[in-house]
């Protein structure tokens, strides 16, 4: 089974370009006061379960990716 983005996500968008399969997809940006944040989701049809996104303790700076 692939992975999912949890509620811990800080919406920094750093993961989008780092996923080797391009399975982390940018959603519509969200405003938080003066900040513009970048929510994401994992496309389970594209995710190959390679596990790169959880291969290092802080691959995601918020540790917001987990296995479904």
């Amino acid at each position: 089974m692939p992975y999912k983005i949890t509620d811990s996500c800080l919406k920094c968008g750093y993961c989008i370009e780092r996923c080797p399969e391009g399975a982390i997809i940018a959603d519509e940006k969200e405003k938080m006061d003066e900040l513009l944040l970048q929510p994401v989701h994992i496309d389970v049809e594209i995710c190959t379960d390679c596990g790169v996104c959880v291969s290092e303790e802080w691959w995601c700076p918020a540790q917001a990716i987990e296995k479904i």
Binding site: D33, W58, W59, P61
Partner: protein
């Protein structure tokens, strides 16, 4: 002129100075010596914390680097080398867990680990701050969304641009 003069690096004498308010004594990276990782050494003198502000979460805002980092705080008294003669505040992780310390201390920052704000709460005697970044260039990505709005509004964000992300 010797063949190996280039290996004796003197900050601001035979390498360019960078735009930085800190009293830097050494700075190295790939642009100074091909293949060299990023190193920065500066003094922290009494009053240093004042320029960073005096409010909750003042100081270098929360950020990550692509490479691991070592932040060495080295006390300046050789008779008591473990006494920093200063008190440092450092926040760690996405939870902004608050830490303070008064001893000579190395903080290890894994790649992509959120850290800071960092600031001296007091400095009684000058100490050396040595930043070792285990990558050839200095990268930095900020996480302003972790700070409360009141703290974000007090920070001059033009001082803290993302670099290399």
């Amino acid at each position: 002129m010797g063949k190996y003069d280039k290996y004796f690096v003197k900050y601001g004498i035979n390498t360019p100075k960078v735009d930085d308010m800190r009293p830097i004594v050494a700075r190295m990276d790939d642009s100074v010596a091909k293949g060299c990782n990023f190193y920065l050494v500066h003094w922290v003198a009494p009053g240093f914390g004042d320029i960073l502000g005096d409010y909750e979460y003042a100081g270098h805002p929360p950020h990550i680097h692509k490479s691991a980092e070592l932040l060495m705080h080295i006390g300046g008294d050789p008779d008591n080398p473990m006494d920093l003669n200063a008190e440092i505040e450092m926040y760690m992780g996405p939870e902004l867990e608050r830490h303070t310390f008064t001893e000579s201390t190395i903080i290890y920052i894994p790649p992509n680990f959120i850290h800071s704000p960092w600031r001296p709460l007091r400095v009684d005697k000058p100490f050396l701050f040595i930043e070792i970044n285990q990558g050839p260039v200095h990268t930095e990505k900020f996480f302003p969304q972790l700070l409360p709005k009141e703290a974000r509004e007090k920070i001059d964000w033009s001082m803290w641009p993302d670099k290399g992300f």
